[in-house]
Symmetry: C2
Subunit: 200 residues, 2 copies
DNA sequence: AAAAAAGCTGAGTGATTGCTCAGTACTATC
DNA sequence: GATAGTACTGAGCAATCACTCAGCTTTTTT
């Protein structure tokens, strides 16, 4: 690992766990084992360093998700939803810092005045919601999912799963205890209406 | 309004919008129109000031919710859920700063080392989840809600609604656009299984 | 091996931070 | 109107901050 990569790694941990203002460049330098000046040699200032962290986070999450979902066949849209939900919860455990960063407020506040920041955040959420939306649309074609607005439905499922992950990250409730229930709730929410006909 | 109350009000806005570290006592003083020393006269330090803000937030949310729900009769548990969800979204708009504060990470980080902080946060979430849980239990008695673990179900509904509110607060998606869909999704999730019998 | 370029250092800087404290202004009690 | 207690002030302090820069070391190019 290059020094630049090492700085980026330490910065990711510090920014996600302590926030932007509460993370000093001196701490990052100490954690990495380099002089403080080295940080400013590779990244011209603290904001650019954070943007590099966010860019890496964006690439990480999108690549992980895309490569997982694309190398897979689903027997139904509903099954795709189940798999995506499970994988999201798995990823949030594997890359805790990345998800903690996305749950904090400061990146979204910075996004208001820093266009590059907004782009990274939007890219991440668009990718994730798109995956759920495609699964909903597929499920509606194959009959495994009821007729309802695909984008809105994808958003609601995403907020539900992400909400549980946030509760875990924030140390309020244990997400893993809700793991099975989340999947079950999704299925109930999405299942097609049972018509009388179905019984004959 | 006393000076102490004015300081508390300004501090609530500043802490919720800028976070803990990024809010200076000088700014709060300037916003309130008092000398910086006045803050330290009423609250002995910055942490105590924040705890006072959190205590006020706790009282605000719990009082609003309890007085709203207790002065009301519901024809079914399902209706109670609908009402609680609607009211939660209404409150999150009315007291944006309070909810933004609860969505930020720093209070939960502080809660690890400051017991009083943890107490306030737990009190707020316990109150809210309890309301949903009671509605689920009532709905299971009157037949409007399917048989499923009440606490876990309450948590899932809560994370869903709170997740949508967070998306709005973080300026990612507009919660109000999902308003009707959230209620509809809850209903689908909670509706009792339709058995063949029901058709005869 | 000389020259050039890239990588890296850490003391130093001006700005900002939370907080103190000696002193002033106001209010209540006698 | 003297006394006492509470409310309030703002200059000042030590600590910390992001960032600079002159100079050193290592690598690459010629």
């Amino acid at each position: 690992m290059t020094r630049k990569e090492a700085i980026l790694q330490a910065a990711t941990i510090m920014f996600s766990q302590s926030g932007y203002k509460d993370t000093s460049t001196a701490e990052i330098a100490k954690m990495t084992g380099v002089a403080e000046g080295t940080i400013f040699y590779h990244f011209k200032n603290k904001e650019k360093l954070f943007l590099a962290v966010l860019e890496q986070t964006r690439a990480l999450i999108i690549d992980e998700f895309n490569s997982f979902m694309s190398h897979r066949q689903f027997s139904s849209g509903m099954e795709a939803i189940e798999t995506a939900v499970s994988f999201y919860m798995y990823l949030s455990g594997k890359f805790e810092n990345a998800f903690l960063l996305l749950h904090r407020y400061f990146p979204y506040k910075m996004a208001v005045s820093v266009p590059g920041c907004r782009q990274h955040l939007e890219a991440i959420y668009d990718c994730l919601v798109d995956i759920f939306e495609e699964a909903v649309t597929a499920g509606q074609k194959d009959g495994s999912i009821a007729s309802m607005p695909p984008r809105k439905t994808a958003l609601i499922i995403f907020t539900m799963v992400d909400g549980v992950v946030r509760f875990k990250t924030y140390n309020l409730y244990d997400a893993s205890a809700l793991y099975g229930d989340i999947i079950e709730s999704c299925k109930k929410m999405l299942r097609p209406e049972q018509t009388a006909e179905a019984y004959f």
